[in-house]
């Protein structure tokens, strides 16, 4: 007789750290047939955490879920133990910099940020708005309406309205877009200061090098899933272990590829149509060193050595095993 045993219970979720302010448990979000976020769990505590992923990875949807702007299709999101979708009082503790650029175009920057301060019920909305604008280096007395602002000024106005009520959790969706290098540095420093002051700062970005400067802790999303979580450098090392695909153009491309293969520098070779070959190398640094050496030995002229998969999308494809 066959005895059917009940399926084993799902493994218990990992314990929630005591200082966790954001707790995401098995959250999925779909829009019709499109799965934007799939079974994602993580916690975020004080300090700066970067949410990294290529465009379309589900970062913005995840940030919207955290702020209650859209409900999860499955799973739970808790901020300070409450549901940000239903608990209106939580809006006092959350500041959001959304991705979309459109603001209240008729208002000045001061009017825009002051409106946020008024709606948050601050005692001195004018003073708070001026302080928040000063923090992002925008002139509170700038008379122009936002309609006349550059992209960078708009970004900074958005950051100011998110900080005006001194929230405990600051969620920023691609906040550095459109900023010049100096402004980027200023905002990155600001995020670090907020994190050091005990705020929870969650910053999304699709630019790998940008994220490195935000802080050590990262959440990596790809194709709606949480692909990696933890220390940035550990994940970066993991990324560097993947095979690198490189196109080499030379007047003696085939001989060059053979030479690299014989030395064990590359693990795969694909011949191109003309003067190019595409090689797969495990150790990208070694490949960079060896290509000119082998080319010199063969008397070959190098026209191009171009990585084909250094973009973030390929990194994330690797992380999710796609």
């Amino acid at each position: 007789m066959t005895v059917l045993l009940p399926p084993p219970p799902p493994p218990p979720p990992p314990p929630v750290p005591a200082d966790a302010r954001i707790v995401v448990e098995r959250v999925s979000k779909w829009f019709g047939d499109l799965v934007a976020v799939s079974d994602v769990s993580f916690t975020v505590g004080p300090g700066v955490t970067a949410l990294l992923g290529p465009n379309g990875a589900g970062k913005s949807t995840m940030l919207r879920l955290l702020c209650g702007l859209t409900p999860p299709s499955q799973g739970t999101v808790a901020v300070f133990g409450g549901n940000p979708r239903d608990d209106l009082s939580l809006t006092r503790r959350i500041g959001l910099v959304p991705q979309q650029e459109t603001l209240f175009e008729n208002l000045s920057a001061l009017g825009f940020v002051r409106l946020a301060a008024v709606l948050h019920g601050l005692d001195d909305p004018e003073g708070a708005a001026r302080s928040a604008l000063a923090v992002v280096e925008l002139d509170p007395d700038e008379p122009r309406p936002i309609a006349g602002f550059s992209k960078g000024m708009r970004q900074r106005a958005k950051v100011a309205q998110a900080l005006v009520h001194d929230p405990d959790v600051v969620v920023l969706d691609e906040p550095l877009t459109g900023l010049d290098p100096r402004q980027r540095l200023h905002l990155i420093t600001l995020f670090e200061q907020l994190g050091a002051a005990g705020k929870t700062v969650l910053v999304s970005s699709h630019v790998l090098d940008e994220v490195e400067r935000f802080g050590r802790r990262v959440l990596v999303m790809a194709q709606g899933r949480l692909a990696a979580e933890g220390d940035f450098h550990a994940i970066r090392d993991l990324m560097d272990d993947r095979p690198h695909r490189v196109r080499i153009r030379s007047d003696r491309a085939r001989e060059l590829a053979t030479g690299l293969l014989e030395r064990g520098v590359v693990v795969g070779v694909r011949l191109g149509d003309g003067d190019d070959v595409i090689v797969d190398a495990v150790d990208a640094a070694r490949l960079r060193r060896e290509v000119p050496v082998v080319a010199a030995e063969l008397g070959a002229r190098l026209y191009e050595v171009a990585p084909l998969d250094d973009d973030l999308e390929s990194v994330f494809r690797y992380l999710v095993g796609g």
Binding site: R64, S89, I94, L103, L115, V118, L119
Partner: protein, 241 residues
Amino acid sequence: MAALAPTRLPIYRLLLRSQVSRARVLALLAIGIVGIVVGFAIGAGDRIDELRAGARFINTFGLSLLVPVTALVFSAAALGDPSEDGTLVYLWLRPVRRSRIVIAAAASSFTVAWPLVVIPLAVAAWATGGGSALVTATVVASTLALVAYTGIFCALGLRVKRSLVWGLLYIFIWEGFVATANDTAGRLAVRTYSRSVLTEIADVTLRFSAISSPYRWIVPPLVAVVALAYATRRLRRQDVA
């Protein structure tokens, strides 16, 4: 305005500013001026019953066209525009009750629509020669209709994209065609109630105006309340960009 909660007033001001664009105001003002011109033309005609002629004009032009279209243009945009361009997030993510946002939106669109509707129609009613009773009836009936349409189109602006198209379909297909099939169907159109108010105050008889008192007075504001309650619920539950 003193009764408005401190958070409602700035939202009201904000939405009022965002709705008042020169193009919208000029276009609707032009329609109102056309109404006044036609009113004078009717008044200058050689008619026996000027009151009835004026009432018919106010019903056809004012209650069936100017009032609903003006309400649609402003009310649908009040929350529809912020919802579509993503700026709603800057109101939504504040500790402000959703009902306050909706009421502020409705109040702002009513504020801007009322003078564009009621003043030209009152002048047109006077110009027809229908007398002070017709002017009073026009002011009251168009205000009452505007209240109902403001609620309906505020909710519509949140509920659907391209709310202008859906609103025009409602005005011209439903209210202008389906609801004129018989008296029972007519009870499902706002204009039937406002027409009934017009005929009661002006003491004239028009087709499809058989809604008895007090329903002709109660239903339009009730429609607005129900629509705004729906809009509040919708705002609470909808996805915000």
